[in-house]
């Protein structure tokens, strides 16, 4: 953490309230000890806190807390709807700092995908699941040709067989040359 006076002064309140992490707090403490300006700001804030807490304690003694605590207890004990609990559980994921981390994570993920494509050129999402071939052109040079596409096994079969006229000359029994599917 870079500690210039402006940064430190902005974080002084959090530091005095004990809200900073150990490393940040230690850095601010060292800076404040060596910087007269920030040290003065710290004393000023501490005085404000003392005054404020004094006022609050005085005023708090006049406040009737019992109805307030009753309300709190009632809120705690009442069953919240499932949706509300779910939202409560998921809400931290939508804090800006967490969403911000999702951006580099998504980029790293995309890089991984692209690398995979680079080293395994045929790799695409799910495209290798099907094996159906596309027949662009076919010429049997006088033979009959059948193309079978079987959707269950994703198999394309090109079958070459002699014309029916020639088959008729042979016996009526199916021969090996007949298409067998």
């Amino acid at each position: 953490m870079k500690t210039n006076c402006e940064t430190v002064k902005n974080s002084l309140g959090a530091w005095l309230d004990g809200e900073l992490g150990h490393a940040d707090a230690e850095e601010i403490r060292r800076h404040v000890e060596g910087c007269p300006s920030c040290s003065g700001e710290r004393r000023r804030l501490e005085r404000v806190q003392v005054v404020l807490s004094g006022v609050l304690e005085t005023e708090a003694s006049r406040v009737a807390f019992e109805p307030f605590w009753d309300g709190v207890r009632r809120r705690i004990s009442e069953e919240r709807p499932r949706q509300a609990r779910l939202w409560e559980w998921a809400r931290p994921a939508f804090y800006p700092q967490r969403i911000a981390w999702a951006v580099p994570v998504a980029i790293v993920f995309l890089l991984a995908i692209f690398s995979l494509v680079q080293y395994a050129p045929g790799w695409r999402w799910g495209v290798n699941r099907g094996n159906v071939a596309a027949v662009d052109s076919i010429d049997g040079h006088g033979f009959n040709v059948a193309v079978l596409r079987e959707s269950k096994t994703k198999t394309t079969v090109i079958w070459l067989f002699e014309s029916q006229e020639e088959d008729d000359e042979a016996s009526g029994e199916p021969t090996a040359k007949d298409p067998a599917f």
């Binding site: 692209f114 690398s115 680079q118 050129p121 071939a133 090109i158 079958w159 067998a180």
Partner: protein
């Protein structure tokens, strides 16, 4: 405290901006496929017996499309071919199978295939198959059955 969060947010976004050009340039650096590994399996199908060659177990579902009772792997051959290069495979019965990989687009390999018997062409076809996929070419009579060729291509 908010300042610290903003600072972290800013660092995260800067890191994202640093990664962004990498993600854009990565596909541009994708290597063009150098060639194709062609594999031809020659299978003899017949109704002479009920034997099923164990070496064809991976193809059993595919071969079930063709209604023969017996399947035997007669020959298996692989060749690596450059694009628009011609690979010749000897097929039993004095036949030749010539396969020429033409292009690779949309995850499909386009193959120009010619089957001939001696000098006589039997079949010319152009087929697009999935990378690592295959198709079957069958029909030529051999011994007591017919030959079925399993033609597969893997982009290198």
């Amino acid at each position: 405290m908010m300042k610290l969060l903003e600072s972290r947010l800013r660092r995260t976004l800067l890191f994202s901006l640093f990664l962004l050009p990498l993600s854009v340039s990565a596909p541009a650096g994708e290597k063009a496929p150098q060639g194709v590994q062609l594999s031809i399996g020659t299978i003899l199908a017949s109704n002479e017996s009920d034997d099923f060659d164990a070496k064809l177990s991976k193809m059993k579902n595919q071969l079930e499309v063709i209604k023969y009772s017996s399947y035997r792997l007669v020959k298996e051959e692989s060749q690596k071919v450059p694009w628009n290069g011609n690979a010749l495979f000897e097929i039993p019965g004095g036949r030749t199978l010539a396969v020429m990989p033409q292009e690779y687009r949309n995850s499909r390999v386009s193959l120009k295939v010619r089957l001939q018997e001696g000098e006589k062409p039997l079949l010319d076809t152009t087929v697009r198959i999935r990378n690592r996929g295959n198709f079957l070419l069958g029909g030529p009579a051999h011994e007591e059955g017919v030959l079925i060729l399993s033609i597969s291509a893997t982009v290198q």
